[in-house]
Amino acid sequence: MSDFLDVLTNYDILGAYWVNIQLAFFSAVFALLLGLVLAMMRISPVPSLRGFGASYVNLMRNTPLTVIVVFAILVLWPIFNVSFSDNFNQNFFWLAVLSLSLYHASFFCEAIRSGVNTVPVGQAEAARAIGLSFLPAARLVIMPQAFRGAIAPLGNTLIALIKNTTVAAAASVAEVSILMREMIESNGNYVIPIFLTIAVGFVILVIPVGMLTTYLSQKLAVSR
């Protein structure tokens, strides 16, 4: 047992989790913003915007995340010279954030749209009746209520996003799943304890997020 603790202290596990947390944070911010824009498109009165939003969501939601990440690292970077940073490794980090954001934006969009569906049609009609056009109505009337109704699905998407940050390993980001492979490679005698340690780390990360979103979704629910 103490040998195993020695193995754990040889590796910067917390540092690796910190990379996952950063990936999740930046991706969540960008994906939520993009998801909001997409959701607005999907409920907008302009058919071409609705069509674009629906196409984006269906395309991204149905493409495996690994494929998107590998596309970024083996096509965007080498062939289209997409580069976000002069620092070699930082560039991979941002390519991973880009892939995670593009992918999860479709899920955030659908979560927000499910929130929009909880807002009664009467609200939109009332907004129209007092003279608000689409954007002000969405900003002042629809979206504030939609977000309050969408907290639980948004939380689920965030939890999925946190766990999906491990896919960034395919983009050469030194996060925790690469560290786990390193640890197993050099410590074949502790494969299962190492695996369980990493898995427990994710449980510790994700459970508070779940509890917080459950609490908020009840606390902030629009009572009708």
Partner: protein, 277 residues
């Protein structure tokens, strides 16, 4: 009520059958009429699944050893043993032997047994054939390097040679990704064990890449067997025969054909380690 009891009995009978099926399955793995061998499926030149056939140096050694142990080729079942799964597969008796570029290390030796080694590889660099700048790990500063994520080779570069973070290391899930980055010019070198690199260069075939030939580590590839297995001595005898009758050399030449790769002659063919009692 009566029907319920009948259903229950039927269920019990069915599950008993299933359980019986399970246990007999397990015993066939240990039976003498088939041999399950874990190999890599994705390393050309070593262990490679090409349609329904398996090729490579590891596969050739495995077939030779199996033959000496009294198994025909039909009785061998090859299964994929990815690096991270090798110990668990042996501990769970899912395979009888592993020939999968499996370096003998102290940590692994605690949970599995090793026969061999049947090859001593060294970490080396694969570069484009016209590259004259890279001669070894010391000449990598400012260069882009690719290796497989989490591998010993990647760790060694990070820990030993990348002191001032002058080496830009890309970690990819497999060697084929690294090779595509090397061909495309995004990285200047791919690093791992020399025989794996030679296999990759041989598979590519056009002579556009070369192995630098300046190994900077010693990886002793052993045959992984379950802890306490009685096969170790027999495997070692088979390996000795293979070294002596020339088929070992033939297998290496076949795997690295056209690359001019010569294994480190001081260490190969390797001296076998005595089997633990």
């Amino acid at each position: 009520m009566r029907t319920t009891r009948h259903t229950l009995m039927a269920c019990a009978a069915v599950s008993a059958l299933f359980l019986a099926g399970c246990s007999s399955d397990e015993s066939t793995t240990q039976d003498s009429d088939s041999l399950t061998i874990g190999i890599k499926f994705d390393q050309p030149g070593l262990g490679f699944k090409d349609g329904e056939t398996y090729t490579g140096f590891d596969v050739d050694v495995a077939k030779y050893v199996a033959d000496k142990l009294g198994y025909t080729e039909d009785q061998i079942e090859f299964v994929e043993a990815i690096s991270a799964n090798r110990e668990t597969m042996l501990e769970g008796d899912q395979v009888d032997m592993i020939f999968a570029t499996y370096s003998i290390t102290e940590e692994r030796d605690q949970v599995v047994d090793f026969a061999g080694p049947y090859f001593v590889a060294g970490q080396d660099l694969l570069v484009r054939a016209d590259d004259m700048d890279i001669t070894g790990p010391e000449s990598l500063s400012g260069k882009n390097l690719c290796s497989v994520s989490g591998s010993t080779s990647a760790q060694r570069v990070k820990d030993t040679y990348d002191t001032g973070s002058e080496i830009n290391l890309v970690e990819q899930p497999g060697y084929s990704e690294c090779l595509s980055l090397l061909t495309g010019g995004q990285v200047d070198a791919v690093t791992t064990d020399d025989i794996i690199l030679a296999g990759l260069a041989a598979e590519e075939g056009s002579g556009a890449m070369k192995v630098v030939g300046n190994p900077f580590s010693e990886e002793r590839y052993g045959v992984g067997i379950p802890e306490g297995s009685d096969q170790c001595t027999a495997i070692n005898e088979a390996l000795t025969e293979m070294f002596d009758d020339g088929s070992w050399q033939e297998a290496i030449d076949a795997a690295t054909d056209g690359t001019g790769f010569v294994p480190n002659a001081d260490l190969n063919p390797p001296t076998l380690v005595e089997c633990a009692a």
